[in-house]
Every structure is written in structure tokens, then in C-alpha cells.
């Protein structure tokens, strides 16, 4: 990457001459070889070590190691530090090496891809890595673009070509690129070989939607824009072949320029741990100082007089210098308060939890055959602390599958499911062209079609004609529809199954098969859809010559434009529409209008005039459309179900019970989003009020927010008993103390905010207001938001609320939010895998989120907290004994224990039991945490491990160390063996204290472990056993005979542990350490039980909380909402009528459906961090057609 940076800074503009390698080589542009790997075999060791020592902890231990090599300071042998350090370094190195190996592999795979390069007039196969800037390469359909290319020519008319940019910016719709007209005529390789144009353009950058440059060719200048560029990472679609000139290669491509390093996410526990470790370092320094001062005093008062027996070392000539050395010596021996094994253990525990997530069968989706995956192994415990969930809608809450669910034709509603056991209709007998996947249950509708009801026929005819769907017929009868929005696809498919089959279209005709009869309509005009019109129409002439306008659109706009004679049908249909909307369905009203030849002529004229207008073309067109879409006859309405994913309402209900706030951030329209909000029970009719913020200006947004807050305070006061005051009707004081009042809002409110209002709300001066308003609401829905805004909202909550956020989404537009949230979850669903690649966790169903958070997250948090508490306790108990001993050994940094004990204590004697607890512990079983979502709260409030808990652990550790030192001190100082030999010798004391320590911390872990699996038993008893076995081995004669200089403790274990007094001492120390803890815990359990204690205690007591009501679409009465089903963008109508997207060999659209992705892109995408506002293909095509 550094190489890349230097190029950017050096390059001011880029000059590329086609087919001239020598000329281009002068500039030393980067080659097309990419390298995402970090090391090679030679650089691995030094670079990796260098990186590892950038970790503060590692450097600290290296520093300690160096200290230990100084003989005057060395209070411990060097191996006490180097053994754990080497262990840690090598584990990390192995992990890094494996990661890098896979990067090498994917790099090689990409670099060795083949592409066709035009060299000296002929096409030759070259590896991607050998493609140079200035080469002309040929791309074929469905190939990945090898570098950033300037499109020169294509096989399509007008030099057009289609690309899919999903891998680049995540948008799944096709985009059109067009070559500069002069080059589009070049056509075949022979002409291209002689092309010697020179491109001068901007230097490499990461802006995906911008490009500016100039092509100089044959003394002429042609300006170049992004419309002429094919970027690396795109896939050529719908185009047989095209030629492009390489402008940026390899690391200079926009794709690579966008692939920054992923921001490394840390959990709040991590940050807390780092703070605490710093505090402990501070504490360590203080201890060192105290002991150094003690040493100075001792050397002055005692040591100087004691010199006849213990001379000062040669470099030591006064007590101050001795104290200085003593400080460092104590830093060495007290360093075990922050053992290096802490970090390794934490990683091991997290890894274990990640595997449990991967292994969880209940998060396995058998339909998609995908298991949940913890892609980041370092965030697990944060899953237990989530307070805000930001969810995408499409593909996350919903399946993004639209089904034609109900319809109302001429005042008759069809599709009501009366009998749940009713069988699905079989269309195949009636209609050989039917789509077998289509489901419909109401046979009344089919009957109505069969008997030839004219309204029903007209209804489906409209659906088969009024759309912008493209069809493809691979073989007779095997139709594939490519719809721009799934709603439209669902409608056309419904018409198909009911006998009105859309077969094919040309720019001027639509061919259908109506009840088995092929009919070709001539398409006179498409009155395209846009957001303001909220409707689309087609004007067709049927074979009989009758001209008719078919219109479908939102009921709100369409019902206004009906012929007055429709009054009766309209009111019935309107009722139906309300019913449908209440069921959370997306509705459209359908109408037609007959046009006489004269009317058509007249309108056509005005339309042409509007179309040609240079200024205000849009407005004029809209006015022209408006003119003709009047006096229509209502046909009926359709209701499409935007299918929720399984279990979404239940999951949301459970998560809100767990006090997690869910915000839906969607690019959809307000109506759609609100509708989904209702159908997934985020919004309910029981809510006190739903506020809608949709102002377009700063003032209006501010106004609306303020009004919402005032209402909230007013209403919650009203409900909170302050009615009396309110009755007197004095308006609320306008200056609202935001934080206090807003924190205590009672009542259920919801906020819906539009993207354009959100833009204002996110501005620095309003964000506080926005946050306080939004956070007082139970549900927040942001609609029409851009990917960037999604990320901004997440960042805002992170910053303002200091809460743990989780973002969940499935599409590339969610990547930015997934990356900025503390935890990003990707749904591996319909929209490709970009979101998954950027995420920390992935699974295929939204409902798995409850298990991820309430079970895995909760357990992880609990386990991690218990682990940390115990770990700090254990190490303080272990280390502080040295501190107390300092006061009795002249502050000489004499360790209490044998150095082997110090080396092994953390990595052998006490590591596994606490690891087992950190991995396996459960306070309540998984189904209980789902039944009692309140169990999740301690994590959100961070109750189990915070600074207070830490100090308690430390205090307990210090208390234990006091006991562990002073009990043996008091007992042994005058004790003798039964053969008269005094017990107060150093080695006996060391063995007694060490054994007492191991036993006390083992008993403590026994108390802390709440879930004794076989592993816990093996590890606890095994560790205890290993202590004795290893101690006896280390104190054995055999080892001593081999290394008499190393094993001073020969015989101590045996001699000490045979003494009853020693065991009485150990028992006494254990009792003094443990009895208060036991009593405290028992009393706490009785006096102040936590919910988890209660649940654990009453495990067998019957289940109390009733489950949330079953069924996806519970009945909601009352409020009228328009569920309006038009998810697509404008512009396609024009594209169809212009015929530009019509292909004679219609192979392309099918391939559009199949999504390709490959590992190298994956690797890149993982690193990529891009905020690309969605550019609508529609706009681009519009612009295109103007040129």
C-alpha cells in the first residue's frame, strides 16, 4: 500500500497512449499485478515480529526480558518471561502466516486470469498481471473487467455496453456505458490496432462515480466521463464483446484504491481491559516505588550495617542506587499482575465462542444450506451488550420476494384465505405457459377468468401490458421475466398464470398470449413511472385498432383521476385497499381509459412537443402525462405481499423485550417502510403516536422534531399522572431541557424520518435534538436513506449514546453501516455476498439474530466477564504476596515462590480451569435466555465487568494475598517439624505459600464455575493434580542430579508436604480466603438476587411469560395506510421505447440473474470501505438517450 501512496502523490495527471507500450513505460505506471499479501518467505519473520512488537503488551514483555538480563536487577530468571512470550508470539505468527498464505493464493489466482490483449494487431491471451496501461483488451460477455478501461467500441449499436457493478458498489441493477462516438466506429481489431489516441486524465483516485479526462485523437479533443469507463470488478453483461483501453491497472484501479484496510474493531471490554491494564501498570509502578523507598530505608538503616554478612554489590555504593535497582527488580517480579497469558486466553475464549456460533444448528438454515459464521472472532462478548440494532429492510426483514396475494376486481375481492387447508391452485392444466412456482389459493378468481368475465380479463390484460418487464424465452413456453422491481415481476407473473401471458416486446409492440391466443399490441407510448407521479401508464393499440391507456399506480393518486361514474366501485375498492394495507400488503390500483384516434393524435402531438422541449422537459412531460391520465375507469386493485422473513415479528418482539432498540434504515419509500414496520410489529396501533418527519428544510425538520418532543412530553405527563396541570392548558415551556425530560418518556412512540429530513437532522447543530427525540421512541424508521446516511446514523448513536450498536443488512448498500457499527451482521441472502464479506457475523435468517444476541452474545459476555474477574483476582492474589514479603526481606525483590512456579503458574497450573469456565460456562440454559429477554440487560448496562467489579476483584485478590502471606508467616515462623527441624526455612515457606495459593485459586474457580461439564472437571482436577506432579518432578533428585545449579528446591515438596502443620496452614488460609466469599455470595443471592439467579433457581418452575402471538400478519384494525407497491426507478420506459436495450439475440438478461463472485473479489471487498450513494441507472439511461 505504501507503494501505492507514493504513486498517487507523484502523479498529477495520467497520459496514456493507446498501443504504445514504450511511450507509456516512461511513466512507470503500476502494472496490473495486485498484491494484497503482506509477507513473503524472507520478510515474514522480521516484518511479522516488527508488527507484533508494535503491540504494547508484547513490547512491554520484551522490555521486561531485557531487564531480566541485567544481573543486578534480575530478580527472576529470564525464562519466566521468555517462555510465555515465545508462546504468544509463535501462536500469533502462525495465525498471520496462514492468513497471508491464503492471500497469496487468491492474488495468484487473480493475477493469472486470462484476458485477450491486442498486441501488434492480433489478439493474444495474456495473464491479467501482464496487462499494461495503454493496452487494448477485448472483453466478452460475463467476463470480469481486468483493469479500469476506457470503452472504445462494442458489438452493440451506438457503442453501448452493459455492466453489472455489484462487486464494486453493490448495486445489482445493470448499468449502461457508451463509448465516445468516434471510437465506437472502430469496431474490429484491425482498426483498433492502428488506434493511437492519447488519453490525458486525472490521476488514480477512489471515486467510483467520477472520471474526467480527454481523448486526443487525430488532432481533435473528446472529453471523457465516467460514462465511458469500465471499472475493474465490473462484469460485462448483455453485450457480446467490447474493446477497452487500459487506463488504470492493478493497484491504481478504482477498486483497489477503494480497498483500504478494514478498521479493526475492538470491543468495549477490550477497551476497558486496556485501560485497566494501564491502571495496573500504574499500580505496578507505585508498588515498585513503595518498595524502592522501602529498600532505600532498609539499606540505610539495616543493610549498611549488615554488610559484614552481606556486602553491597560492586556497582552499588549507596542505598539510593540500591533502591533504584530494587525498583526495577520489583517491576520484574510484580509484572505477573498483567500476565501475558491474559491476551492469549482472551483470544482463545473468543475463538471458542466463535466456533460455538459456527456450530450452532439452530442458526443453520436448511433451505439455504448455510450455517451461521462468526467471521470476526474478536467481538463475541460485545454481542451481549447490544443496545441498538440498525436493520436494513429489504432482504433482511423481508425476503425481497413479492407474491401476488390478493386482488380486487370490479368491487369483488379475491384471495382471502378462508380455509387454511385450501390447496394451491394448479394452473398447468388451464394454462401451459403458467409459472409453476406461482401460488394462489382462491379458485374463485380462476373461475372468473375461465367464465370470461370481461373485467377480470381486462384486469389481467392490464397487468400483462402495463409494465417495463423484459421477457426471455429460451425455448417455447419457458419464459423468464426480468423485472426491474420484484413487485412488477409478481404482477406480470400473476397475469401470466391467469392466462394473460406476456411473451415478448419490441420497441413498438408487446406480444401476449391471451387465453391461449397470441395477440400483438402496438405500443404507442409508455408514460413512465416516477416518484412524484407514483403511477405508470401505457397506451396500446390492440389488433382491432382500439387505443386504450392502461394505468397502474398508488391508490392515492389514481383514485383522484377516475371518471366520476366509478364512484360505487371506487368506494368498495377503497375499502378493499384499506383491508389490504391493514394486512401489510403493498397495493396498487389499476385503471384504464379508452382513447379515440383523435384524442390520441392530439395528445401524441403535445407529448412530442413536450418531449422535444429543451427547458423544463420533465415538467412538460409530466403535464402531458397528467393530461391524458384522467377520467379513467377503475378496474380494481392488487395486493402484493412483501414477504417477511420467517420469524421476524417474533424476533423483534423478543429483542425489544430485551431492551434493544431497533431502527430500520431503508432505501425504500416511506409508505413501504411504514408498512413493513407494521407487519413486523415494530409499529403497532397500540402505539401512543407515530411521528413522521419529512421536512425539506432545516427549519421545518427542526420544527417537526420539536413538535414531536413536545407531544411526547405532553402525552407522557398525561399518562404519568400530571393530568391536573395539563388540564389548565398552559402551553409547555418552549426551551426543553433535552436530556432529563427525554430520558423519562413513558409511552410508546415511533419516529419515521425521511432521507432528506435525515440529512438535516444529521447536521452538527441538530444531531443532539435528533438523537434525543429518536432515542425516546420505541421504534425508529428511516426511509429513503443513502448508504452513507446509514453509516452516519450509526456513527451518531455510537458517538452520542456511547451504546453498543449492531448493524444488520444484506446488500452492498449496507456495507458502510455494517462497517461503522460495533458489530456488523450480514444476511447471506438474495443480494449477493458483499454485506457478508464486510460483516463480522453472517447467517441467512434475520430471526437468528435473537439467538446470536440473547444466547451466544449473552453467554459470551457472561463468560468473558467471569473470566476477566477471576483472572485479575488470581494474578493479584499470586503477585501481591511478593509485595508483603518485601517488608520482611529487606525489600530485596526476593520472590516468595520458586521461579518455576512463577513461570508455570499462569500457563499450566491455573490456565485451563479458567479457560474452561470462559468457554463452557452457562448460568441459564439457552431457551431460558430466549424466554426471559430481560436476562440480556446486565450486558447492556455493563454490570458484570466494569471498573467497580474490577476493583472488587482486585480487592479480593489483595485480600487473598495478605492471607496467603501472613497466615504461613504467623504459623511457620516458630513452627518446627515433628523431628525438631524448624519449618521457617525459605523453601518450606515457598512451597507452603505456593500450594496454598494454588488450592485457594482452585477452590475459587470451583465456586465461580456454574456449569460443570466434563471438561471443567478434567481441567480443574487435572490442573490441581498437575501442580503436585510437576512440583514433585521439579523437586526430584533426578532433575537435580542433572542440573544441580538449576533445581535448588530438591526435596522441598516432599519434606514440606509431609508436615501436618503445613496442611493445617493451607486449610486455614483457604478457609480464611473462601469463607467470606461464600457467605457474601449466599447472602447476596438471598438478599439481592439477580434475574439470572432467579431463573437459574426456578428452572423447573413453569414457564411464566407467554409467548408473543403467533402468525405473521395479525389483524390490525383502523388506521388507514396506503401500502404502495412500486419499488422501481423511473427511466426504463424510455429505454424500452427507444429500443436501446432490445437485443436480437436475447441471451443476456438471463445471465443477469446468476450472480458471480469469486474469491479474489471477496478478498478485496473485505478490505473495501466505500460510501457510494446509489446512483440510479434510470437517470443514467436518461442522460444517455439524450446524447
Amino acid at each position: 500500500m505504501t507503494h501505492l501512496v507514493c504513486c498517487v502523490s507523484a502523479e498529477e495527471e495520467r497520459r496514456v497512449r493507446a498501443n504504445d507500450r514504450e511511450y507509456n513505460e516512461k511513466f512507470q505506471y503500476a502494472s496490473n499485478c495486485i498484491m494484497t499479501s503482506k509477507y513473503n518467505i524472507i520478510t515474514f519473520l522480521p516484518v511479522n515480529l516488527f508488527e507484533q512488537f508494535q503491540e504494547v503488551a508484547n513490547t512491554y514483555f520484551l522490555f521486561l526480558l531485557i531487564l531480566q538480563l541485567i544481573p543486578q536487577i534480575s530478580s527472576l530468571s529470564w525464562f519466566t518471561t521468555i517462555v510465555p512470550l515465545a508462546l504468544v508470539l509463535s501462536i500469533t505468527a502462525v495465525k498471520d502466516a496462514t492468513d497471508d498464505y491464503f492471500r497469496h493464493k487468491s492474488d495468484n489466482q487473480v493475477n493469472n486470469r486470462q484476458s485477450q490483449v491486442l498486441i501488434r494487431g492480433s489478439l493474444q491471451n495474456e495473464k491479467w498481471m501482464n496487462v499494461r496501461v495503454g493496452d487494448i483488451i477485448k472483453l466478452e460477455n460475463n467476463q470480469f473487467v481486468a483493469a479500469d478501461l476506457l470503452l472504445l467500441s462494442s458489438t452493440e449499436p451506438h457503442g453501448l455496453c452493459y455492466i453489472e457493478t455489484a462487486e464494486l458498489d453493490g448495486e445489482t441493477n445493470m448499468k449502461v456505458r457508451q463509448s465516445v462516438s468516434v471510437t465506437s466506429e472502430l469496431g474490429d481489431p484491425n482498426n483498433l490496432a492502428s488506434f493511437d489516441g492519447e488519453v490525458v486524465c486525472e490521476p488514480p483516485n477512489n471515486k467510483l462515480d467520477r472520471f474526467s479526462g480527454t481523448l486526443y485523437w487525430r488532432e481533435k479533443k473528446y472529453s471523457l466521463t465516467n460514462q465511458n469507463m469500465l471499472l475493474r470488478g465490473c462484469v460485462l453483461r448483455n453485450t457480446e464483446a467490447c474493446y477497452g483501453l487500459v487506463i488504470f491497472a492493478g493497484p491504481d484501479t478504482k477498486l483497489m484504491q477503494n480497498s483500504g484496510r478494514t478498521k479493526f474493531k475492538r470491543t468495549s471490554i477490550d477497551r476497558l481491559m486496556n485501560t485497566l491494564v494501564l491502571w495496573i501498570f500504574g499500580f505496578l509502578v507505585c508498588m515498585g516505588m513503595i518498595l524502592a523507598v522501602g529498600n532505600a530505608g532498609w539499606e540505610k538503616e539495616v543493610g549498611s550495617l549488615f554488610q559484614s554478612y552481606l556486602a553491597w554489590d560492586t556497582p552499588v555504593n549507596n542505598f539510593l542506587f540500591s533502591a533504584f535497582l530494587s525498583f526495577w527488580s520489583y517491576v520484574i517480579i510484580l509484572n505477573t499482575v498483567v500476565p501475558i497469558s491474559l491476551y492469549v486466553s482472551v483470544e482463545v475464549i473468543r475463538l471458542g465462542h466463535s466456533y460455538f456460533i459456527n456450530w450452532d444448528q439452530q442458526m443453520f438454515c436448511s433451505q439455504c444450506n448455510t450455517a451461521a459464521e462468526a467471521r470476526t472472532t474478536t467481538l463475541n462478548e460485545e454481542l451481549g451488550q447490544v443496545e441498538y440494532i440498525f436493520s436494513d429492510k429489504t432482504g433482511t426483514l423481508t425476503q425481497n420476494i413479492m407474491t401476488f396475494n390478493k386482488c380486487s376486481i370490479n368491487g369483488q375481492s379475491y384471495g382471502d384465505l378462508t380455509d387454511p387447508l385450501e390447496t394451491q391452485l394448479d394452473f398447468s392444466l388451464f394454462n401451459p405457459l403458467a409459472d409453476p412456482d406461482f401460488c394462489f389459493y382462491d379458485d374463485k378468481l380462476l373461475e372468473s377468468v375461465k367464465v370470461g368475465d370481461s373485467c377480470t380479463h381486462e384486469f389481467f390484460r392490464l397487468l400483462s401490458l402495463c409494465h417495463t418487464v423484459m421477457s426471455e424465452e429460451k425455448s417455447e413456453g419457458e419464459l423468464v421475466y426480468k423485472a426491474q422491481s420484484p413487485d412488477e415481476g409478481a404482477l406480470v407473473t400473476a397475469a401470466r398464470n391467469f392466462g394473460f401471458v406476456f411473451r415478448s416486446r419490441t420497441p413498438g409492440t408487446i406480444t401476449t398470449t391471451e387465453m391461449g391466443r397470441t395477440v400483438t399490441y402496438s405500443l404507442l407510448a409508455i408514460l413512465d413511472f416516477n416518484n412524484i407521479r407514483k403511477r405508470m401508464s401505457v397506451i396500446v393499440r390492440n389488433p382491432e385498432g382500439r387505443i386504450r391507456l392502461y394505468c397502474k399506480g398508488a391508490d392515492t393518486v389514481l383514485l383522484e383521476r377516475l371518471h366520476p361514474c366509478n364512484q360505487e366501485v371506487m368506494s368498495i375498492t377503497s375499502d378493499h385497499l384499506n383491508e389490504y394495507a391493514a394486512d401489510g400488503l403493498r397495493t396498487l390500483a389499476l385503471a384504464y381509459r379508452d382513447l379515440s384516434e383523435d384524442e390520441w393524435e392530439a395528445w401524441s402531438e403535445s407529448h412530442r412537443f413536450a418531449d422535444k422541449a429543451t427547458d423544463c422537459r420533465e415538467d412538460r412531460l409530466a403535464a402531458a402525462y397528467e393530461e391524458v391520465e384522467q377520467n379513467m375507469m377503475l378496474l380494481g386493485a392488487t395486493a402484493i405481499e412483501d414477504k417477511l422473513q420467517e420469524g421476524v415479528p417474533e424476533t423483534i418482539a423478543v429483542l425489544s423485550l430485551a431492551n434493544i432498540k431497533i431502527w430500520v434504515l431503508t432505501g425504500d419509500k416511506q409508505e413501504t417502510a411504514v408498512n413493513i414496520g407494521y407487519s413486523c410489529k415494530m409499529l403497532t396501533d397500540d402505539m401512543t403516536e407515530v411521528f413522521i418527519i419529512s421536512g425539506h428544510t432545516v427549519q421545518s425538520v427542526r420544527q417537526e422534531l420539536r413538535r414531536a418532543r413536545e407531544r411526547m412530553i405532553e402525552l407522557s405527563r398525561g399518562s404519568g399522572g400530571g393530568v391536573g396541570k395539563q388540564l389548565h392548558g398552559s402551553p409547555l415551556p418552549p426551551p426543553l431541557p433535552l436530556s432529563n425530560l427525554m430520558d423519562n418518556i413513558s409511552g410508546e412512540f415511533a419516529l419515521v424520518i425521511n432521507g432528506h429530513s435525515l440529512a438535516h437532522a444529521l447536521e452538527a447543530d441538530m444531531e443532539a435534538e435528533f438523537v434525543s427525540t429518536a432515542c425516546a421512541c420505541k421504534a425508529v424508521i428511516c426511509c429513503r436513506v443513502t448508504p452513507l446516511q446509514k453509516a452516519q446514523v450509526v456513527e451518531l448513536i455510537k458517538k452520542r449514546k456511547k451504546a453498543v450498536t449492531l448493524a444488520i443488512g444484506d446488500g452492498a448498500n449496507d456495507i458502510s453501516m455494517i462497517k461503522s457499527a460495533h458489530i456488523g451482521v450480514g444476511i447471506s441472502g438474495q443480494e449477493g455476498i458483499q454485506a457478508v464479506l464486510a460483516s463480522d457475523y453472517s447467517f441467512s435468517q434475520f430471526r437468528f439474530l435473537q439467538r446470536l444476541l440473547l444466547v451466544h452474545g449473552r453467554w459470551s459476555y457472561l463468560r468473558m466477564c467471569r473470566f476477566l474477574c477471576y483472572f485479575f483476582y488470581k494474578n493479584f492474589a499470586f503477585t501481591m504476596v511478593h509485595f508483603w514479603f518485601g517488608f520482611f526481606c529487606g525489600f530485596s525483590a526476593q520472590t516468595v515462590y520458586d521461579q518455576y512456579f512463577i513461570t508455570l503458574f499462569n500457563i499450566v497450573y491455573t490456565s485451563l480451569p479458567v479457560l474452561a469456565m470462559g468457554i463452557f460456562d452457562q448460568d441459564v440454559p439457552d431457551h431460558r435466555s430466549l424466554e426471559y429477554p430481560k436476562l440480556y440487560e446486565p450486558g447492556q448496562l455493563n454490570l458484570l465487568f466494569n471498573k467497580r467489579e474490577f476493583f472488587i476483584c482486585i480487592a479480593q485478590g489483595i485480600y487473598t494475598s495478605v492471607v496467603l502471606f501472613f497466615v504461613p508467616y504467623a504459623v511457620l515462623s516458630n513452627a518446627t517439624q515433628s523431628n525438631g527441624v524448624p519449618l521457617a526455612d525459605y523453601q518450606t515457606f515457598a512451597v507452603t505459600t505456593a500450594t496454598a495459593l494454588v488450592i485457594v485459586v482452585s477452590v475459587q474457580i470451583v465456586l465461580d464455575t456454574g456449569f460443570w461439564t466434563v471438561f471443567n472437571h478434567v481441567f480443574v482436577w487435572g490442573s490441581l493434580g498437575s501442580y503436585f506432579i510437576i512440583m514433585f518432578a521439579l523437586h526430584s533428585q533426578t532433575l537435580f542430579r542433572i542440573f544441580p545449579n538449576q533445581f535448588h528446591f530438591v526435596g522441598s515438596a516432599q519434606s514440606t508436604l509431609l508436615q501436618p502443620v503445613v496442611w493445617l496452614t493451607i486449610a486455614l488460609a483457604t478457609a480464611i480466603c473462601i469463607v467470606p466469599v461464600l457467605a457474601f455470595r449466599f447472602l447476596k443471592l438471598d438478599l439481592k438476587p439477580q434475574l439470572s439467579d432467579t431463573v437459574r433457581y426456578t428452572q423447573l418452575v413453569r414457564q411464566k411469560r407467554r409467548k408473543p402471538p403467533e402468525g405473521r400478519l395479525g389483524a390490525r384494525g383502523g388506521s388507514r395506510r396506503s401500502g404502495y407497491a412500486f419499488a422501481h426507478q423511473e427511466g426504463f420506459g424510455e429505454l424500452i421505447t427507444s429500443g436501446k436495450n432490445m437485443r436480437l439475440s436475447s441471451l443476456a438478461l438471463a445471465s443477469f440473474a446468476s450472480r458471480h463472485s469469486s474469491s479474489w473479489i471477496d478478498t478485496l471487498r473485505r478490505k473495501k470501505h466505500t460510501h457510494t450513494p446509489p446512483s440510479t441507472s434510470g437517470e443514467k439511461t436518461t442522460r444517455l438517450s439524450e446524447t
Binding site: 530478580s75 539495616v302 543493610g303 549488615f306 559484614s308 554478612y309 552481606l310 459456527n358 450452532d360 444448528q361 439452530q362 443453520f364 436448511s366 448455510t370 453467554w859 520482611f888 526481606c889 463452557f920 452457562q922 497466615v967 508467616y969 504459623v971 511457620l972 516458630n974 513452627a975 518446627t976 517439624q977 515433628s978 523431628n979 525438631g980 527441624v981 524448624p982 521457617a984 526455612d985 525459605y986 456454574g1010 456449569f1011 461439564t1013 466434563v1014 533428585q1037 537435580f1040 544441580p1044 530438591v1050 526435596g1051 516432599q1054 502443620v1061 493445617l1064 486455614l1068 478457609a1071 480464611i1072 469463607v1075 461464600l1078 457467605a1079 455470595r1081 449466599f1082 447472602l1083 443471592l1085 438471598d1086 438476587p1089 437459574r1096
Partner: protein
């Protein structure tokens, strides 16, 4: 089976381990266990405490300070002079039998055998009888590895150099006649020290092994002449040397000097009577405010006198019982909620 597998190759294994459903014992601090547990522990501790206290009380200990701080004390003259082998004596009277076996300790106070550099100042290879370490003692012994004429010191280091060198004889005066009480110095060191850790070089006579080396600066006699009476009790396996080399954990300590030989009149211990300890006073401690004492003690199954242990057990045991009562009251009052 095969079909199923192919269907869901990605399905995680359904084992108790992967699904976190391992059978597990889930203990809970219920009143039924904790309160009786406390009572039991309390009673057990009280029982042990009583036993320890009774045993400890039965042990006789006699401590005699002979530092010679105050002018009136017997060894004050010796403590103030630097004369080698200064003699002084202490008298004491036993009114009852001092139950045997009786152990004779010397004790030092404010003496830091546990100082880190002091403890490290020895050469284990040398003490293991490695002749190469005789000629070049480890640097850990510095500054007591070579003398001023660069000759290696054996045994080197501070510990050996500072070896305690007062000697004592115990006499009993019975009706005007004084007779020596036989002191037994065998087996007063750790078995492993004597048999494994310390070893004389296998050179006979032992003296030859020390050729070219010098004795520690503070020593009067070289290591091979520590015990003139017993040739096997010389060199590094000399019992007094071994006792000294096993350094004390705390600054006030006592070390075993001799056992009273249980023979003749002393079979049952030291009978009542007047006793005199003749001290050869060599070891200066007053410079660092140290103190020296002589201790006679007998032992029980649990070793020497240990009041603390018994009292501590009694206190903890009583506290446990008290706690159990408190817990019972709390439990009865705030009964754990069965209903939510």
C-alpha cells in the same frame, strides 16, 4: 444416510459438545448446602483448634537471650569485644522435667538470610562437589568468590561466609558436681540436603580437594576441618553447615543446633535442676541490631509450640458458626423467592 449427508453438508454436527448441551452439574448456593456446610466447617475448625491449642500448651519452650546488649547480661563483655572464642556462660534452672525429646536451637533476630542477593550468593555446583567449581567459583558468589590474592574461596558466597560460629556446651549441676549433657548433632539437617544436595568431592583425603583454594574469609577453620571429632562430619556435609545453608524465610529465625541425647539421666528429657550453657561467642550481631538466643523446646505430633494455629482455627471456626446463624436468620426472613 448418504442422501441426508449430501443434502446438508454444511449442517453443523449435532453433538452435545457443538450444541453446548454437554451434561453438566450446575451447583447452586442453596441454603440446604451452605448453612449446614458452614456449621460443619465451623465445628470441625473449633475441634481442630481446641486440639491444636491443647497440644501446643503442653509443649515446653525455654528461650534465653545471650546477645549481651545490656551491661548486666552474661555475654555483654563478649559482645563488645572482638576477641575470638570469647567465653561466657548462661545459667538457668528447670523446676520440672523438660519433657524429651528436647531440641536445642540457636536463634537470630533481624538477620536477613532471605535477602535476594544473600540467597543467591552460593555455587550449587561447588557444593555438589564439582571440582571445576572449586577452582573457578560462580560469579553469583561475588564478592566472596575470590580472596584478595585471587585465590578461589571454597565454599564461596555470602551464605557460607556468614556461617554461624558460636558453639555451646550444656552442663548440669547436680549437688555441686557439674556433668556435661550430651548433645547429639547427627541428623539435624534435611535428609535431602545431607544425602543429595550437598556432596563432598570424591577425593581422599578430603583436604586434597581443597588444594589451591582458601577458606571463607570469616571462617576460622577450612571446610574440611569443621568437626575435629567426627571425620565424616566435614566438608559440605557438615551438619551445622547444612543447617546454616538452608536459609531462613524470615528475618527472625531459629535453627536447630543439637538434640539432647536421650540417654542415661536424660532419657525422659531434661530433669529439674540447674544448668549452665557455656558459650563460645564468635558471631557479632550487635552491629546490625541483631539478637541471638538459645531455645530449648520439645515437640508434639504437630511440631513445636504453635499458639497461633490453634487460636486461628478457633476464631475461624466460631466465625463460621456465627455466620451460619446469620445466614439462617437472613434465609428465614428473606426467603429466596420461589415466585417471580
Amino acid at each position: 444416510m448418504v442422501k441426508q449427508e449430501s443434502e446438508s453438508a454444511n449442517r453443523p454436527d449435532n453433538t452435545a459438545f457443538t450444541q453446548q448441551r454437554l451434561p453438566a452439574w450446575q451447583p447452586i448456593l442453596s441454603a440446604g448446602i451452605v448453612i449446614p456446610g458452614f456449621v460443619l466447617i465451623g465445628l470441625a475448625f473449633i475441634g481442630i483448634g481446641v486440639a491444636l491449642l491443647v497440644t501446643s500448651r503442653s509443649i515446653q519452650v525455654l528461650e534465653l537471650d545471650y546477645t549481651g546488649d545490656s551491661n548486666g547480661s552474661p555475654c555483654s563483655s563478649c559482645s563488645q569485644s572482638d576477641i575470638a572464642n570469647c567465653k561466657c556462660s548462661l545459667n538457668f534452672t528447670l523446676t520440672t522435667l523438660f519433657q524429651g525429646p528436647v531440641f536445642f536451637y540457636y536463634g537470630l533476630s533481624n538477620y536477613f538470610q532471605n535477602y535476594r542477593r544473600y540467597g543467591a550468593s552460593k555455587d550449587d555446583n561447588q557444593l555438589y562437589g564439582d571440582l571445576s567449581s572449586f577452582t573457578s567459583p560462580s560469579s553469583s558468589c561475588s564478592p566472596y568468590n575470590y580472596d584478595s590474592s585471587k585465590k578461589p574461596i571454597v565454599p564461596c558466597g555470602s551464605i557460607a561466609n556468614s556461617m554461624f560460629n558460636d558453639t555451646f556446651t550444656l552442663t548440669r549441676t547436680v549437688s555441686g558436681t557439674t556433668n556435661n549433657v550430651t548433645l547429639d548433632g547427627k541428623g539435624i539437617a534435611w535428609w535431602t540436603d545431607y544425602n543429595i544436595k550437598y556432596r563432598n568431592p570424591s577425593v581422599t583425603p578430603l583436604k586434597n580437594a581443597f588444594n589451591g583454594t582458601v577458606k571463607p574469609i570469616n571462617w576460622a577453620k577450612p571446610a574440611y576441618e569443621l568437626d575435629a571429632s567426627d571425620r565424616s562430619n566435614n566438608g559440605f556435609v557438615n551438619q551445622d553447615f547444612l543447617v546454616w545453608m538452608r536459609r531462613a524465610a524470615l528475618p527472625n529465625f531459629r535453627k536447630l543446633y543439637r538434640r539432647i541425647d536421650a540417654s542415661g539421666d536424660y532419657q525422659k528429657g531434661l530433669p529439674a535442676g540447674n544448668y549452665t550453657i557455656d558459650i563460645t561467642y564468635n558471631y557479632p550481631v550487635r552491629a546490625f541490631n541483631g539478637a541471638k538466643k538459645i531455645v530449648f523446646s520439645n515437640v508434639s505430633w504437630m511440631g513445636g509450640s504453635n499458639e497461633f494455629l490453634g487460636i486461628a482455627y478457633l476464631v475461624i471456626g466460631s466465625l463460621c458458626v456465627v455466620m451460619s446463624v446469620v445466614m439462617l436468620i437472613v434465609y428465614a426472613k428473606f426467603k429466596f423467592p420461589d415466585e417471580e
